[in-house]
Amino acid sequence: MITKRIIPCLDVKDGRVVKGVNFKGLGDVSSPVELAEFYSSCGADELVFYDITASSDGRKLFTDILTETAKKVFIPLTVGGGINTVEDFDRVLKCGADKVSVNSGAIRNPDLIPRAAERYGNQCVVISADVKRVNGVFKVFAKGGREETDLEAVSWIKRCVDNGAGEVVLNSIDTDGVKGGFDLEMLKAVSDAVSVPVIACGGAGCAEDFLKLLKTLPKVDAGLAASIFHFGEVKIEELKKLLSDNGINVRAI
């Protein structure tokens, strides 16, 4: 049977992993290529590269790094950040990305998802949504979570899937960075509403949070996190062992 996926996310700015990371035994690593190789060897099922550079010089550095990574790492790579046009899809897919995630770009341009899905297939298009509760309503935020939109999250995500998004990354702003666990209520609302894979993001503080997520919500397919992996608070091999010991089907390496 298909396995649940564990996905580290690398925020990349000016060609380096933001903040850098410090692994015991690996020293200080801020090269995205090295980090990607390391995660792949630890059993990460997929990697997300998030481009947080604004400048065009930075963009070029980012695609160079993507190319370098895709030459060495043979697991699926998803790329996000600054994807506003079908040409942006083309730019990163040519450099070795397998999937492309869109966020603000899909809010600004409603044609982006259907056009990209038509050209590259639904499996290539990921809708990533930053969602926060506002007066008890799940609202979509744009621009990296800084700007509130008028969009109600569940209906927005459903519309994106109907338009051709083949996967959903749901990032809860409410739990992000709190390290108290994933936002199970929000994830349930979304995973009950769509029939494509849902990737949970925001809030994981320890390995048990992934176990609770996948035990409680069987419709969630994957857990994504950044800093807890980067700082070695959760080690992917140990996380997968914990999940496997508790009856969650994960890929052994």
Binding site: I2, S40, D45, G96, G121, Q123, V196, P197, I253
Partner: protein, 206 residues
């Protein structure tokens, strides 16, 4: 020299890189003479069956592949490339394939329980049955590979060399003579996938 068939379908960067990573000389080509003089051929593919089959025919590559198969050159189809080896596909209509593997390509929704998601996307385990095909000599039963597909090879039990389980047994790989195919993506399946490509590169097609 491994040749990856270029026919205007999909992105071949990772596939090419994966052969480079295992130290194989590799080129992407749609040239008839280059293909027929290759030691082995990879038929890639993503997207819809009908478009891909049309594109192969428009370039005369269907005949080149049949000739290569006839010459005994080891050929591996990957994902949609595997499906193209079959007699036909029912994806959006009825389309003729290369006919190198007997059987047809049908929607997985025909055989899997309705609550399972489509596409079948993610890592799933391989099982080999009684006899392990040479392309799997470097890997073990139960090893995981990466799948992304909504259609599958049906009525091909004679040629099936690996299955995976997704609410029902699903064809994961097929072979007949010097022609084989993987529904999954070896170039996205980590070390297991590279080990399958290594074994393919060591396979004499028998």
């Amino acid at each position: 020299m491994v040749s990856i068939v270029e026919y205007g379908v999909g992105n071949l960067f990772s596939l090419k890189s994966s052969f480079a990573a295992i130290g194989e000389e590799v080129r992407i080509t749609g040239d008839k003479d280059e293909l027929l003089s290759s030691e082995r051929i990879i038929l890639p593919g993503v997207g819809a069956f009908g478009d891909a089959a049309d594109s192969l025919r428009a370039n005369g590559l269907d005949r080149v592949l049949l000739k290569a198969a006839d010459k005994g050159i080891p050929i591996m189809g990957i994902c949609l490339g595997m499906q193209l080896l079959f007699d036909f596909s029912e994806e959006y209509g009825h389309h003729k394939g290369l006919g190198l593997i007997p059987g047809g390509v049908k929607p997985i929704s025909d055989v899997i329980p309705p609550e399972l998601k489509i596409p079948h996307i993610g890592w799933n385990a391989l099982s080999f049955g009684e006899k392990k095909h040479p392309i799997f000599k470097n890997i073990r039963e139960g090893d995981f590979v990466y799948f992304v597909h909504s259609y599958y090879g049906a009525d091909c039990s004679e040629s099936t060399i690996a299955l995976t389980e997704y609410g029902a047994p699903i064809t994961a790989a097929v072979a007949r003579g010097n022609v084989c195919g993987c529904q999954f993506h070896p170039e996205k399946s980590g070390e297991v996938g590279l080990n399958i490509l290594r074994a393919f590169c060591a396979w004499d097609g028998r």
